[in-house]
């Protein structure tokens, strides 16, 4: 055969910049959509992603990958893993699908933004594949979760969550919309494909895949690790765009975007990924702790990638590292306590064995978060379940949209970081959340978090029942303790002795 090699024609595929004449360049590539920051068209042509695919390779490889994950699913369908899985694992799946399946389909819009508006022709080519990839991720995860709708109404949230005003869904939308859908092509490349996909998606799609394999959920493990192979391919766009930015004197802009979105991503993962890895996943199937995964993928790999591009760690790095011992533990207590307000059944993960594991992975856990669980456990042992359920609403951060939390016990540090902007009082869970707001107040100032909506009279009646109705949660959907408090049995026996 005398087929051409890829490098003999690849430059012609991406050699498609031209000089507009009949319509001005700045109209075809409006700055608000393109974000070229004064870097001329020709400079963007230097965009070069290390791993290249052509259309023919793409459809072939992707067809084969899909054949793989669908056949694993079909092969294991009869075994019906989910039906007999530990309830904590089921909650992991429900939280994951609800927050991500529809968001991944939406991510095709972010890729399409780059494919249409980037002035780098190579970016427009790669992003077209990225756009297809995200359709794949949305569609696969909807198809794989759909078969469980017969098991409980909570599975409906795999599709429905992001259409609701449930608080975690608002938090996810606020972050995703900020990162993926409301910025110019270049910001999207840096924030989504570099900061988020190069770093954090490994956590969700490889870390959780490892746990899934341990748990015996091979369908899910296979599915999400296959997704990550696409992520790592289209994530290359971020580095390639950053290189152009750095070479054209825009390193400070790039650093700033990374600093903002890295923190926002961290906060979302501390809600979504932290609790499922350290509390919901059955103890015997936990491959590593959330912190260990973060150390491997973020502190190790991602920082190396920043270094390679001449970029720095975000300015608040020490606070971030310290937060690895705190944020998700605190959020987990909050989510468990407010369990009727989420679409999955939070697993407490606070049995004696699990607490021993937590103390080992997070020395000092027992004297901080453990104390909160002591009180909760004591109430359960004494049959005072009502005291483990919420009656009032928590204070929410105007950036992360999640409860303002901190470390309980001796190291009590929960604090609101307020800001008055144009006469309105905002609350933030950390100085960094407040800093994010201050960078671009126009993006955020008119948004109302859940509590703002209660105060504005949108939630009626303004109590827990009204809040649940506003969030779209009915009995059958609202979360309960995943194990029906079985984890507290050992404490009950001890109390009886």
């Amino acid at each position: 055969m005398t087929s051409l090699k890829q490098d003999e024609y690849y430059d012609l595929i991406r050699g498609v910049n031209w000089t507009p004449k009949y319509v001005p360049e700045e109209e075809i590539f409006p700055e608000e959509m393109s974000g070229s920051r004064g870097i001329p068209m020709a400079q963007w042509e230097a965009f070069d992603e290390p791993y290249k695919v052509t259309y023919g390779d793409y459809v072939q490889t992707q067809r084969e990958k899909d054949a793989g994950v669908y056949s694993v699913k079909a092969g294991l369908e009869r075994a019906n893993y989910v039906k007999t899985a530990d309830p904590g694992w089921v909650s992991t799946l429900q939280a994951h699908y609800g927050a991500l399946a529809v968001a991944e389909y939406a991510a095709a819009t972010a890729e399409a933004r780059m494919a249409r508006f980037s002035k780098a022709p190579g970016n427009r080519v790669v992003a077209t594949f990225g756009m297809l990839d995200e359709m794949r991720h949305g569609q696969l995860q909807l198809f794989f979760s759909h078969e469980h709708t017969r098991l409980s109404r909570q599975w409906d949230w795999a599709h429905k969550a992001l259409y609701t005003n449930e608080w975690a869904a608002i938090a996810a939308r606020h972050m995703f919309d900020d990162m993926m859908f409301t910025r110019d092509a270049i910001s999207t490349a840096i924030m989504l494909t570099f900061a988020f996909e190069t770093g954090f998606t490994n956590m969700q799609f490889l870390g959780l895949s490892a746990d899934a394999a341990e748990a015996g959920d091979h369908t899910f493990s296979n599915l999400i690790s296959s997704i990550q192979t696409d992520e790592s391919r289209h994530a290359q766009q971020g580095g390639a765009i950053l290189k152009v930015m750095v070479d054209n004197g825009k390193i400070d802009d790039a650093q700033h975007m990374i600093d903002v979105i890295f923190w926002r991503t961290w906060k979302l993962f501390s809600v979504l990924t932290g609790p499922i890895m350290d509390y919901y996943t059955p103890l015997e199937h936990r491959k590593q702790s959330f912190k260990e995964f973060m150390e491997e993928w973020i502190i190790g790999q991602f920082v190396r990638q920043l270094d390679d591009l001449g970029l720095k760690k975000p300015w608040y790095w020490d606070t971030f590292v310290a937060d690895l011992d705190q944020a998700h533990h605190a959020i987990h207590v909050g989510v468990w306590f407010y369990r009727p307000t989420v679409w999955w059944n939070p697993a407490a993960g606070a049995s004696p064995e699990e607490r021993a594991w937590l103390e080992q992975k997070y020395p000092g856990w027992n004297t901080t978060f453990g104390r909160t669980w002591d009180v909760i456990t004591d109430n359960i042992v004494r049959g005072r379940l009502n005291m483990t359920l919420p009656e009032t609403l928590p204070l929410l951060c105007n950036m992360s949209n999640v409860p303002i939390v901190g470390t309980p016990g001796d190291k009590w540090n929960t604090k609101d970081y307020p800001l008055v902007y144009e006469g309105r009082l905002y609350h933030f869970g950390s100085p960094i959340d407040r800093w994010c707001f201050e960078q671009e107040p126009e993006r955020y100032k008119g948004h109302m978090n859940f509590i703002d909506r209660v105060l504005a009279g949108l939630v009626q009646p303004p109590d827990m029942a009204g809040a649940l109705a506003y969030m779209g949660l009915a009995p059958g959907e609202m979360g309960e303790d995943a194990h029906d408090y079985a984890w507290a049995a050992a404490y009950q026996r001890k109390a009886a002795e």
Binding site: E8, M135, L140
Partner: protein, 330 residues
């Protein structure tokens, strides 16, 4: 006090598909109702209501003059999902790879007639640019469309644009190897920017890039611009290629035309759906009338450069027929 509320029972499918009598297809399960930005038409994105992107989506999507109470009820007549798109196109690519290899092994490019070679250099190789713009505009329609079922069609259409771009790049590189002095792989940008044969299409395509209203962009691209371009560079150019013994391009252009036919099917289905609402037909006709003269000039300029006379009339007749088929879809 009211009695305890009923506990919701599990469903056989998503709640948004549950009250239909028909069991939903795989296509519906994974394609329908996925734009969560439709949740609140006033604030598509969960940030300040007046950030530029919220204004953009309100203006160019939610407040488009083309109205329908339920765009999410649109269905792709081909019901393509990601999985089946790759199945379909991997098969098509295997066919094209076979063509390319077979003709290359037979030394096809050495046998190209001296009078046909400059036609390929001038009127075929620069096709990379307009099909790339088809890709770009389709990506725009995908990101701004009011329903995920429309977005999916537009996104696959964008990918097909990249497919055509890739074939053209491949052939250009191949021709450059055999005919290094003919300018292949070197002159296309200049031809696209300066050759009178291309200026009609260049003007047309630059304008369609800034048709920001989602529905106007769709009508302009799918009913006017694409048919005009396809009937020129896949249609008559492919036919003239065959008559000049360039059998390879004759077959390659036909293979690409299969994609275009699929695009016309979904476009027809969407036009059909839009026309069920009063006022939309006039709006669509108005957009066609607005864009067609520019497309006609593009067709005339391009066809005037073809070796065989009379191509422009042929293309215009075919474009009109394609439009009529889409407008009277059923």
């Amino acid at each position: 006090m009211s009695s305890a509320p009923e506990v919701l029972k599990p469903l056989k499918t998503w709640s948004h598909l549950a009250d239909r009598r028909k069991r939903p297809s795989e296509y519906e399960i994974v394609t329908v109702n996925l734009h969560y930005r439709n949740r609140d038409p006033n604030i598509p994105w969960e940030l300040d209501p007046d950030i530029p992107m919220n204004k953009w989506y309100r203006k160019y999507c939610n407040e488009s003059p083309l109205k329908h109470p339920d765009w999410d009820s649109f269905r792709d007549p081909d019901e393509l999902i990601y999985r089946t798109y790759n199945l379909l196109q991997d098969g098509q690519e295997a066919y094209v790879r076979g063509l390319l290899d077979q003709f290359s092994d037979r030394g096809h490019d050495q046998t190209i007639a001296p009078d046909w070679l400059p036609v390929l250099a001038r009127l075929y190789a620069p096709v990379r640019f307009p099909v790339h713009i088809v890709q770009m505009v389709s990506c725009y329609i995908g990101q701004i469309a009011p329903a995920s079922t429309i977005t999916s069609c537009a996104n696959f259409q964008a990918a097909d644009g990249l497919r055509w771009l890739t074939h053209t790049a491949y052939r250009t590189a191949e021709l450059a190897k055999t005919h290094p002095a003919a300018g292949f792989g070197k002159n296309e940008r200049q031809l696209w920017e300066e050759d009178p044969a291309w200026q009609g299409f260049r003007a047309l395509m630059e304008h369609v890039l800034v048709a920001w209203d989602w529905a106007e962009a769709f009508v302009a691209l799918n009913l006017v611009v694409k048919p005009a371009l396809e009937e020129c560079v896949l249609g008559v150019l492919g036919e003239q290629a065959r008559r000049h013994n360039d059998t390879l391009y004759g077959l390659l252009s036909q293979a690409q035309m299969r994609d275009a036919e699929r695009h016309r099917r979904w476009a027809g289905a969407l036009i059909d759906m839009a026309q069920s609402q009063e006022g939309n037909r006039a709006l669509i006709d108005g957009w066609i009338a607005k864009w067609q003269p520019m497309a006609d000039r593009a067709i005339e300029a391009y066809c005037a450069a073809l070796p065989e006379a009379g191509a422009a009339e042929l293309v215009k007749t075919r474009v009109a027929a394609a439009q009529a088929a889409m407008v009277q879809y059923r």
